[in-house]
């Protein structure tokens, strides 16, 4: 049973059928309309509407002062956003690709995430950093990184990652309204992979909450973003072998929805974590740790990780070998079930 579809059906507002990138555009538009202090900054987000068209039409509608084409300068974008945020604005900064967030790492690490702490709450940095992430679209090098773990290990910033158009818009609005900085990861591979009904106007998806996408009894698959379709495919394939998978979409990577995870793993006794980032230092380890803390006595087999390998994301000719596949998930499911 698809739990999510059911919930969606309850939605009564008028809706539009949108792809994820359109839903993001719609979320940005909604907040630009709602709140005068919202301001978008980034490279090529204005006239060009963003290299993925996520900001298409927004500069036309809201003007160059609110949808700002900046110089090619990530540290400058994030650093000036700190000043804007402290002084009454809600900057939504786009990093053109997540692999280009690294020049801004210092600003995010030493200021964005720490200013509230430093000033005991006197100043805060309510800003959103949007970052398209992940491999699988045949992009040049550095365009395909999945760097969430570099930010979940950074106290003071939240990290979210939607897997559907509906969640993308709802989480983005929640992120913009959040009193603290939020890194908003956008799975490029999912930008146009799926269309769904997305409510018009403003609504939010709660930060810190994941969702059970599918009920199951034998094993819990934990994933997010572009790995959700991979998890679903694998789950479908093992159905034939009479293995029943529960699928969790985390949506928020920090703070984790611990109850959701514990409840599911305590039921199934087995977990497979699927993510694109490298195994070593990846968020998968945090999840294992979490499960170790909450559900040690429930485990029937070692937790499995299906992740990107401990190698740099390769040039695109090999990217399909880097990325987790349903086949690899399948293998792990069988390993867990037949432990």
């Amino acid at each position: 049973m698809d739990v999510k579809m059911e919930r969606k059906a309850e939605q009564t507002n008028s809706t539009q059928v949108l792809t994820m990138v359109q839903a993001i555009n719609d979320g940005l538009k909604t907040m630009l309309e709602e709140d005068d202090t919202t301001i978008l900054l980034g490279e090529d987000i204005g006239k060009n509407g963003g290299v993925f068209r996520a900001t298409e039409g927004l500069q036309e509608q809201f003007g160059e002062d609110r949808v700002v084409d900046t110089p090619l300068s990530e540290s400058g974008i994030v650093g000036t956003s700190v000043g804007l945020a402290v002084n009454g604005f809600k900057p939504v900064a786009e990093m053109q690709f997540m692999g280009f967030i690294y020049p801004a790492y210092d600003q995010i690490m030493t200021h964005v995430s720490r200013l509230r702490m430093k000033t005991m709450g006197h100043y805060s940095v309510p800003m959103v950093i949007r970052a398209p992430y992940g491999a699988g679209i045949r992009a040049p090098e550095i365009h395909s990184d999945s760097a969430e773990a570099l930010f979940t290990h950074m106290p003071g910033i939240k990290v979210v990652c939607p897997s559907t158009p509906y969640d993308a818009k709802g989480l983005l609005i929640a992120a913009i309204e959040d009193p603290d900085p939020v890194l908003f990861m956008e799975p490029m591979r999912s930008y146009r992979a799926q269309r769904e009904e997305v409510p018009e106007g403003k609504y939010t998806v709660e930060i810190g909450k994941g969702e059970k996408l599918q009920e199951g009894t034998d094993v819990t698959l934990i994933a997010w973003g572009a790995m959700i379709p991979v998890a679903k495919q694998a789950a479908k394939q093992v159905e034939q072998k009479e293995i029943s998978c529960e699928i969790l979409d985390l949506k928020t990577l920090y703070p984790l929805d611990r109850d959701l995870i514990a409840e599911s793993v305590q039921k199934t006794g087995r977990a497979i974590i699927i993510h694109e980032a490298h195994a070593t230092g990846g968020l998968g380890n945090d999840l294992i740790s979490e499960i170790n803390d909450t559900s040690f006595l429930y485990l029937r087999s070692p937790i499995e990780r299906v992740t990107g390998f401990d190698v740099p994301v390769p040039f695109f000719a090999l990217e399909d070998h880097y990325l987790p596949t349903p086949q690899r998930v399948l293998q792990s499911i069988e390993k867990a079930v037949h432990f």
Binding site: L84, T119, M120
Partner: protein, 351 residues
């Protein structure tokens, strides 16, 4: 470039002002204010060093020698403007209205030291070099967008100009014509690295040329030059004229910090010829009959008392609370963080 950017000064080392027009701009109020604040922060600075030596505060970076730069520049601001200090600019923030007790607390490792008085736009001292520069551009940009006339004054050292954030910040300021005054205190050293090794160019002012910024190089130990040049930049910024880069050439008399030993890297003779900015102002005051013994004694007494009282208050400030470790990370702490707090406080026996 040294020809293109000569060091501007209005007052010589003996406290003489040759330009009649400038002299007329200097009134008693300004002179007294300048002396008062320079004296005040000098006392603060020396007290801080002595506290550190006694182990009553942590490592401390003295600013002695740079008082004219800090006081002269910050006095050119209005109350609603913004100040972005580095770790060495507490002389400026104190003059702008930062709380002295909290300033001492800062150097005692207390976050309380970063909290400015309500209504005072003072950022926490930047520790990662040059990172405050884009922030200062951002706040100024916000003021511009709100349509106010407020400006932002951003401090940074000679060493800071080598960092990428200096460049990116100045470029943003230039592109968006933000009302930001980039106030460089060129004290000719970044810890042990002399400016000749920091850069091959002869001035910092010339770095403004890259961004088509109005730039000026001034004698940072001449309080009047600092004040009037900053004032000009502030006026320009308020009136929509955009950012300015000011290079104030100065000299730190002492060590980089109390943990540093400048004799390891500074030639003994270097800096010997620099007339201390407070002495220079004293010469001026005596030359031009602003030196009132009674007033001098009075403020010296008052300020000494103020500093002593601040030390006293700092030392009697409530002890740091471990809860603060957890309470200011997010507006609404996530459950897992609250649990960490809870279990730690329990361990401390105060659950």
């Amino acid at each position: 470039m040294e020809e293109q950017f000569p060091i501007q000064k209005v007052m010589d080392d003996q406290g003489n002002i040759t330009d009649e027009k400038t002299l007329q701009q200097i009134d008693e109020e300004l002179v007294k204010k300048a002396y008062y604040h320079m004296k005040r922060i000098r006392l603060f600075d020396r007290k801080a060093i002595s506290l550190q030596r006694q182990g009553r505060i942590g490592t401390y970076p003295p600013f002695e020698g740079q008082e004219a730069s800090q006081v002269g520049s910050v006095l050119a601001l209005g109350t609603d403007d913004w100040v972005f200090p580095t770790y060495r600019d507490h002389g400026a923030t104190l003059t702008f209205g930062a709380d002295m007790v909290r300033t001492f607390l800062y150097w005692n490792g207390r976050a309380e030291g970063c909290v400015p008085p309500e209504g005072k736009n003072i950022f926490p001292a930047a520790v990662p070099i040059a990172t405050q520069i884009p922030h200062a551009v951002g706040t100024a940009w916000a003021e511009k967008r709100k349509g106010t006339q407020n400006v932002t004054l951003c401090y940074f050292g000679d060493g800071a100009t080598s960092e990428g954030d200096f460049h990116e910040g100045l470029n943003f300021a230039s592109v968006f014509q933000t009302p930001t005054i980039f106030f460089n205190q060129n004290n000719r050293y970044a810890i042990s690295v002399p400016i000749e090794k920091q850069m091959h160019s002869k001035t910092i002012a010339q770095k403004g040329l890259a961004y088509d910024l109005p730039s000026v190089r001034i004698d940072g130990n001449d309080i009047f030059s600092v004040y009037f040049e900053t004032k000009k930049a502030v006026e320009r910024a308020r009136n929509g004229g955009g950012p300015t880069l000011i290079e104030a050439v100065t000299w730190r008399t002492g060590a980089h910090t109390t943990a540093d030993d400048p004799t390891k890297y500074r030639p003994e003779e270097q800096g010997k010829d620099v007339v201390n900015p407070l002495d220079r102002l004293e010469h001026f005051m005596k030359n031009y009959s602003y030196w009132y013994d009674a007033w001098i004694d009075q403020i010296e007494h008052e300020l000494t008392e103020e500093v002593e009282a601040a030390v006293e208050a700092m030392e009697h400030f409530p002890q740091p609370d471990p809860s603060d470790l957890f309470d200011h990370v997010f507006a609404n702490p996530p459950e897992q963080l609250s649990e960490q707090k809870q279990s730690y406080l329990e361990l401390l026996g105060r659950g």
